[in-house]
Every structure is written in C-alpha cells, then in structure tokens.
Symmetry: D2
C-alpha cells in the first residue's frame, strides 16, 4: 500500500502535471484531486492527456485533503495559507503557490498584497544544506518557476564570491503555461503564436524570492512571454569579482545533483530538451566584450519549475530517493 | 540483469525516442546505439533531451548489434533488410523501417522501389489475433506512422462490415518529426511554422500498408504537414453499410487494449494529449449531412506511431506485460 | 476626398484586418471604427499592429455608421441584421457576419438559430455572374471563411459536371483567428500550440452555405483547429463523373480572377503563402488509388476568408478595380 | 516609367521580402532577381507567397545588375564587395550584407574574417544626421537585424548622456528567418518549435556594429533563437547617469521618425505587431530594484531589420518620401 496523495487545485496546468507524475510514481497512490469550479467533472474532461485515469474532481476542502498522507497545493497565490492551516501536522504539504516562500513580510505585501502567511522551508534541494532541511520538514514551499531557473544559475556564483550580488541582469522567457489556464485574451493562441513580448518589467513577484534565495542585492528581471507551451530560458549576467571560472563553480555546486546538468563546453541549453522532465540545463561563459559572466539555464516551467520540483521535495520529505518517479529525460523534439 | 537492447539508427527522431523509452524501461538495459554519420559522438550531442545518458554512438554493423538480446532497427527505408539478414535468429528484431511491412512485392516496388525483402509479422497488436502472432515472433515489422493512426480508426469498422471498404477517404496531418531529421529546406522552422501544406497526394507509401492492414479496397489519402513537432490527426470517412453504431464497434474492438481509448461522446481527439505517450485517442460519429461515418484518431507519431509501438511489440515478443515501461499519459500542455 | 468608410465590430480579428486594409486603401478614408465593449479606447490598445493609426473606438450604433458611404459589419453572427436595417439604402453595406448569407430560412434556423433575416447578394465574386451582381448591389453578404476556401475548390467542378455533387468529403483546417478574439480556455496558446483537433464534426454552420454556393447535395465537412494564427487549408474530394481534367476546369474558371491561382503541376498550396493577402491557391489531381478528384485550396481566413474578400466586394460595389488596395502577395515566411 | 530595380541574392528570406516590397512599390519596376543556385527557376518556385509574379531567377553577375537604376544586394556576408565593385557608380546600391558596415578593419576581420572592403554610408536613417547622409549617397550599407533593434533602443540614450556606454547588457531573441534559408538540422521545424536556445553568446558579429552605431563601449549581447518565423525582441539595459526620463529621450529622438513608435506608458512591444511592416516599437522604464534603464524594442527582422530598411534607404537615396511603398502596419494576429 502506497503513500496516499492528494492534489488541491488540480485543474490548472501545474495540477495536471502533478497528476501525471503522481500517477506514474511507484510509491504514490493518487487518491484525491480537487478543483473549485470543476468539482464533479472527470479529471480527463479538463486534462485529456490523462485519458485512462479514472478520477473525478472533488471540491477543495480541508476535510477531504486531510485524509491523505501527502498533499500538494496548486492553488492561486494567496489561497494556500488558509487551507494549509486546517491540515493536521501529520499530513505532509508541498505548496506550489507563493504564500509561504518569502521570509520578508514587507516584500510579500509589496509584490502579492494581503497578509503574510509566514515562511516554510524553501523547496529548492540544490541549495546548500537545503536537502536535509527539506527532509526534516512537513511543510515545504515550492519554488517559483522563474526563481528556480535563475537561482540555479546564479546562487553558486554569488555564494562562491565569483560574481558581485549587486548588479545582476536577467532576461527570462517563459512558455505560456506559466501564465496559467484561466481564459485571458492576451494568452489566446492567436495572440501568442509568432509573438514575443515582455511583461511585468521591473515588477515581477519572483524578484524578492530570487534575491532571498541567491543573495543578490540588485536584480533587474525582464520576463518575456514566448510562443511555446512550456519552458523557461533564463539569461543571467553578473559582474565577476575575480578570475574564477564560472563553469568550475557550477560543476562543483551540482556534482551530486541528479537533475541539474552543466552542459559540455560549447553546448547551450535548449528549453525543448527539458520538456516533461525535472531537469535543469546550464551553461556559462565570460563575455569577451563586456567581461560579464553569462549563465543560461533552461527548465520546464511545469517540471523543475513546478510539479517535478514538488515531487522531488515530497520524495525528500518522505525519505525516498530524490529521483523516484521523476523523468530524467525530456520529450523532444 | 536485464534484457540487453541495441538501437540501430539512433540519431534520428524515432531513434531518440526509442533511447528515451528504453532508458526508462524497467527490464531493458540499453547497451548500444548506432549511427552511421555520428559514430563516435556522444548520444547527447544529437539528443540534448537525453543529457545524463552516458553513451557514445557506435557504427552500424551487424557484429555490434548481434551482441544484444533485442535490436530495434530505426534505419531509412530500404536499409533494414540487409542488416537484419546478418543478425542471428536468436536476437529479437523490431524493424521500424518499411522493409518488412508489405506482403505484396509489387506494391513494395511501386511505392518504395528496389527488391522486396519479404514480410515479417505485422506489429500492430490491436489487430485481431495479432497480439499472439507478435508474441510468437522473433522478427516484427513495426507499423508506419500514418498506417497505425488510420488502421486503428478503420480496421474494426471494415472487419465488422459496418462500412464499405471500397470508398475510404482520409486526410491525415502530421507533425514535422514524421519527416525525419535530415536537413531539408522545406522542413525548416521558417517554412513550417504558420503553414499547412499537403504532400504526396495520392502517392503516399503508407497506402498499400493501410489497405493490407484494414482490408480497404479504395483509399484516398491526403497527407498534410502541420506546424507542430509531433502528432498525427487522421480524419477517416467511409460509407456505412447499415445502421451499426461506429462507436459501439470501436468500443468492442478496443475493450482490452490498454493504449487505445475511445473518448466519451462529444469529446474529440487532440494530438497534444498523446504527446510522449503510446496512446491512441479515437472518436466517431455519423455525419448528418452526408451520412458518412467519420472517425478521428490522434497519436504521437513518435510514440504509438513509431518508438512506443516498437517497445510495445518488443514487450509482447519477450513475454512482458504489454504496457511495461510505456507512458500511458501524454505531456500536455 | 475619398470614400468615407466605417467598420462596426472593429475590435475582433476580422475587424482589425479590415482596419489595416482600409487604412492602406488609396480610395478609402477610414472615419469610424466601432466596438461594443471597447468604446472609448484607442484602436491601438486592442490592435497594437496598427500603432500610428490615430483613432478611438466609437460605440456601435446606426446613427454613427449612417454617416459613412460604406459600412463593413464585422459583428457576431445574429447581430448584423437589426443594425443593417437601420442604415439608409444609400450607404453601401458589406456584412462579414452570417446573417444574410443563406437563402434557406430552415437551414438558417437549424445552424444559427433565431429568425432568418433574408439573403443578400452573395459576396463571392469568382462565382459565375456574381461579379456583376455584386457591382449592382448595395447590400452584400460576405462569405464564410471555410465556405470561400471550399467553394473556390469545388464550385467549378460541379458546375462543369466534372464531379458528382452527391458525395463530397472535405477536411478543412483553420488557424485560431477563425475562432475569434473572445477569451476561451480551449483557444489559449497553451492549448493550441502543438495540437490538432477537430470540432463541430458534421455540424458546422458553413455546410448549408457551401451547399448553396456549390450545388453540392451531400457534403461531409470536418473542421480542424490548427496551431497557427491564420490560414485555412481545405482538402476537397469528390467522385469524378467522367474523364474531365480537374486542373483544366479550374484553370478555365479562374482565368480572369486576379486573386485565385491554380498552382503549376506538382506544387501544392501552402497556407503561409497566402498570409496577409487576398489570394487563394489551388491544386488538383485525380487520386490513383481511389479515383477521386482531390482539390486543395489555401487562403488566409482573415484575408480572402473575411476582410480581404469584403474589400474586394466593396471595390466592385463602388465601381473600383477589383484589386484596389488589396495585397496580391503573402507575407512569408 | 519607374525606377528599374534589381535584387541580387533574391532566393533567400530577405530577398523574398525585398521582392514583395518592390512589387508593391509605386515607383519601382522590378526588372531582375538573381540567385546563384536557382538561376533559371521561376521566382515563385522558391517564394510561393509571390504567386502571380511572373519572373525567372537570373544568374548573379554584374552585367545583368548594371542595367538597373537601383540594386539591392542580399548576398551572404563576404560576397557583396566584389560584386559591388563591378557596378557603375551611377547605379545606386543598397547592400543588405555586412561587407560595408564596419569602419574598423580589425573588428571586421575578427568577426567576419577575410579582407575588409571598407565602409559605406550606414543605412540607419533614424540616427542623427543620417537621413541626409543617406540621401547624398549612392552606396549604402544596410543595418544588421539585431543592430537596428538594439541601436534604435540605445543610441539616443547614450547620445543624450542619459546612460553609461560602458555597461550595456542586451538579450535579444530572433525568429528563425534571421538564420537564413539554408537547410541546417538545428533550424528544422522539429528542432525550433517549442524551443528557446541562445547561440553565439558573447561572439555575435553584430557586436562591433552596435558599438559603432551607438557609442557603447562595453556590450554584452546574448542572442536567442525563438520559435517563430519573424521578429526580434531586444531587451536593452544600461546604467543611468542621472535622472533623465528614458521615455522623454526616446520620444524626442523619434518625434519625426515615421517608422519608430514609442508606445504609450504601460504598453510593451510585441514582435507580432511589427510582422510584415517596417516599424519599430519601443518602450522604456527604470527598473525599481536595480535602478537600471530597461528599453525593449520589437521589429520584424525581415522588415525594419532587413528588406524594409533597405527600401527606406533607397527611397531616401532617390529623393522619394521615406515611407513610399512601405507598410506602416503589421499583419497580426
């Protein structure tokens, strides 16, 4: 008999990917999927890629969820905290929303609004010491999608003193699933195909999360919406403080990380290579003209950027091998 | 110790998907991947989605392959037969090429040219009696990508006498990976994005294969290249011979087929829902205006249309459960 | 001083394309663009491709429109008739909606519902005699997007007696802009990219229009949503009645049509080649296996399928050369 | 009788767009299109979007071209110089290749290799004084595609002293047509759809051109290949030197530029809005967290980034209004 798993907010894109991963996980039994507006509908009416999975959406309430051993919360930002507060401590909870990511209540209010719910253990296992912190936690705040792509590229360089934290410039493009499944005109296929466009320039809510996770003190983040369903490509540049080889720093940081790959020299990350997987691909160089360090990272925003990451955290929380049930390889082309 | 598996022609798209599936298969040990022009290169130089897989392409020769228990041939049409002839009978072989699909030597010559290599057991397990035929075979000819999508939609209706075999009209659109990985101008991203275009109209080499597999005697097939990497959507229309409900016929035919799903009434197949999976989604109706039966099927051309199908066949040949190591669910969105 | 032109319903995709064409038309002065919900907003807030056009959406009412010499109605189906009835006969009106296309009131009710507004002159100039009918009209019903693609492929063959009208099978795929600009989940970029899916199978409202325009008596139409913003590719098959060469029939039918091109033998239509233009590309063959005639046509659903067609009709109504202000060439790649 | 125009290298994507623009230009007569390998083929065999244009590719030689009044060279980098040297001074020449862009012979050798052909008048009319320089020239070096997007965003800010030239960080993504029409595996539709990937990181040949055109002294450029046929989105960040409002600087710089639009506050550029047009859309802000100025520009790489720009330059050289024959509005969606 496996670990009983529930997903709250399973009608969104991260929720659907969670269901796919949980259904294929050798230790998990998917017992409950909740959805506010879709309660009563078959899961496959919303997620046709899961045809064959015989499950009906339940309503989202704490009593239903409390019956599980492990709960993933994939709710809109600001909705997790109240629900989580009603779950018994014995239930392990991974929150894919932002409610419990930030330690700084002011930053929370500025970027998300509303009351700050407090911070949980931050669910990025590849940060130093974080694997064991997660293993000891019953509440984990999953990372933001941009945050994980950028933090994996940047954190080791700042930690090693190889780059200055004060002047980090990032342009990161995301596939459309990062913007969610709510029907909005600017996310229509007609609008996004053939189009690149920035949004929330200088105002993205992942900025304080990235600064908290990396130690960056000055961060310019320009998010871009890209014409593809999945994937984040983050280009991170920073000013080197000395002659440290950024590739060497990254290689050492991720020597034991099964999902983070520093590519061979000359190979640059492709988002398509991470589609459907829990992987992060990295490459780094020092720019000849500007002298800046450039690190590029690619992830699947629904994989390492959301659902894959959440399962990785749950594996650690439950004492399972980190890679259990998680795709190592992407679906490409 | 697992079954030792080799892939010949592993640098193409079907080859890459085979490597992904084999690497994740619980009973398979991937020991060899060969490639003509890429011999000596790391597999990940060609397939970045497999980063983490530590394997170098070998040259394609029989001696190397003969060392495996199971060989997948993913070679250009016309190249499998000579190589297969050199492999010992004890090695199980699944040929993803067309060389051994057709029983009719004339049809072979007309559509492919060159000498006919003879027919192997046809690798479509969902055809009546075919599961056991495959289970008893050491040589299996995997299906063509269009052929599997169209045959799954059509064969049960002809077999049941529900439609006439004499006037079948099919329009089937495929993602670009079906056209292979060779660099050709008309397959450039710049050419295919935003574009739909038919090709090989009335001249596609899968016509005789579909007729052989379904019993159709008159078949009009218009293939269309679609702006997506993966997926086939086949619209199959035929003239009903009586009042049989096409949905009932299909439901009965695939009651025990784990990968073929007749969708609930009102739901139509989406290719994206099959991406990365070995599934086939079907829906059928009788057209009000024309009285024709319309069946639509969706597959991933690299999944159920090629590599997934090949692994399914291999599972049967080896006495494994049919679904071993095969994704049931698609990667969407 | 030019012809004063107004567009009602200018916030949709056909409306936006109309504004682009009118703004570039040497004889037209764009004086009014109306939009129900966007009234008061700059046109460029909705249509950023028109940046530089200094115009604010007005509310949609007859008084505003009556001031123009020429009015294009690009309203949702069922909304044109009442508005048109309030416009003085001296104002020329082209209705891009369906309200005035069908002569058969029963067919209207069955496919659209509600009361039938009666039929106007049908706005497909390439039909025999239709150019002069349009030239003499003050009210013209523009064609449906699928209808124009299919009718141009089929009508001459039926008219010439080259194919039977009784068994026409069509599969036609459209880019997403054909589904409009209203925010709907199934039209999100995340849903449509990488996906092909049929819809309204055997139930599309263009069926009676196509039958009326071509004389087809039995018509199976399967519409497919394709992952591209613009374009329709229609594959039309029919049973030949004799040995007539379908290419010869089409060549003669369109010898004097500046926008309809029968491609050289061996070249098949590409939707991308018609993007932004008012062109229709055709090719035809007789299928070797089935004996069916196959005609494939490509148009831009917003060009010859909507706005371009509408301007062509308006040119004829006003006695201008048919091609005035209309792009002959597509924007590709 | 119009100006006789020839295009050398007309089989590529920039060449095809030139043909489209020239064919629609009221003062130009398209007399010659040359192509090395396609000589003798109809233009429409390569560019189906131009069906209706009755022209056959000639071989590329100076004698053929010398007969025209105006010659556009759309040849691979390094091939223009020798050909241009053979054309009489009376023929006006716009070179879309890189051969005559750089004044610095060392930079040329470093980024392009081979002998430096010397610099022509730089064809970016929106730079101060450049309109009149172009008007007086018979030889104009058209801008690089990335260079025009980045220079229009950056040059006024450096010129006004509003930002430091020493630390400019740019990430710019381009559609695939920017990589040309030669058949290469990494440009296949299967590879690029769903994918973002950087290339030539810190090594792109437009770096010296941008530095020359803007005065930047330290420039980090990360080019990214994006899954769309056309469009460049450049995100340019720089360190402000004082309190100058970057929007005010840009507004003043382009007050009289018909093709460059600073968008209203809050609206950010979309590449799709520039498709098929000669426009550049700009927006700027000061990033709250980092204090950096962020300017984003969008162009069509084949429009303002190549063919449109070339026609704009030719208009100026010939004393025609700058906008003659050039699309002001994009084709969207």
């Amino acid at each position: 008999m496996g670990i009983r798993v529930a997903v709250a907010g399973a009608s969104g894109y991260a929720g659907g990917e969670l269901l796919r991963l949980i259904a294929g996980h050798p230790e998990f039994d998917l017992v409950t999927a909740t959805a506010h507006r879709q309660a009563g509908a078959p899961v496959t009416a919303v997620h046709p890629q899961l045809v064959g999975l015989d499950l009906v959406f339940a309503a989202t309430d704490a009593a239903t969820l409390a019956d599980a051993d492990l709960v993933f919360l994939a709710l809109p930002h600001g909705e997790s905290a109240a629900l989580a507060a009603e779950l018994p401590e014995s239930v392990r909870v991974v929150d894919l929303g932002a409610d419990h990511r930030l330690r700084d209540a002011d930053a929370w209010s500025r970027y998300y609004g509303g009351p700050h719910a407090g911070a949980w253990t931050y669910g990025l296992p590849e940060l130093p010491g974080q694997r064991s912190a997660i293993a000891g936690a019953t509440r984990v705040a999953n990372t933001g999608c941009y945050a994980v792509a950028i933090t994996l590229a940047l954190a080791p360089l700042i930690a090693a003193g190889a780059v200055s934290p004060a002047d980090v410039v990032v342009v990161a493009a995301s596939g459309t699933s990062g913007a969610g499944r709510a029907a909005k005109t600017h996310l229509l296929g007609s609008e996004v195909m053939g189009d690149l466009s920035p949004y929330k320039v200088g105002a993205h809510q992942h900025v304080p999360e990235i600064k908290q996770a990396t130690g960056a003190t000055g961060l310019s983040l320009t998010p871009v919406l890209a014409p593809m369903p999945r994937g984040i490509l983050a280009t991170v540049t920073a000013v080197p403080t000395g002659d440290a080889d950024p590739r060497a720093v990254l290689a050492e940081a991720y020597a034991d990380a099964p999902f983070v790959h520093l590519l061979p020299e000359g190979a640059w990350p492709h988002t398509a290579a991470t589609a459907g997987a829990n992987s992060c691909h990295l490459q780094a160089t020092v720019d000849v003209d500007s002298g800046r360090v450039i690190v590029v990272s690619a992830i699947d925003n629904l994989g390492k950027g959301a659902a894959g990451q959440a399962v990785q955290n749950a594996n650690l929380m439950l004492g399972l091998p980190e890679t259990t049930g998680l795709p190592l390889f992407g679906v490409a082309p």
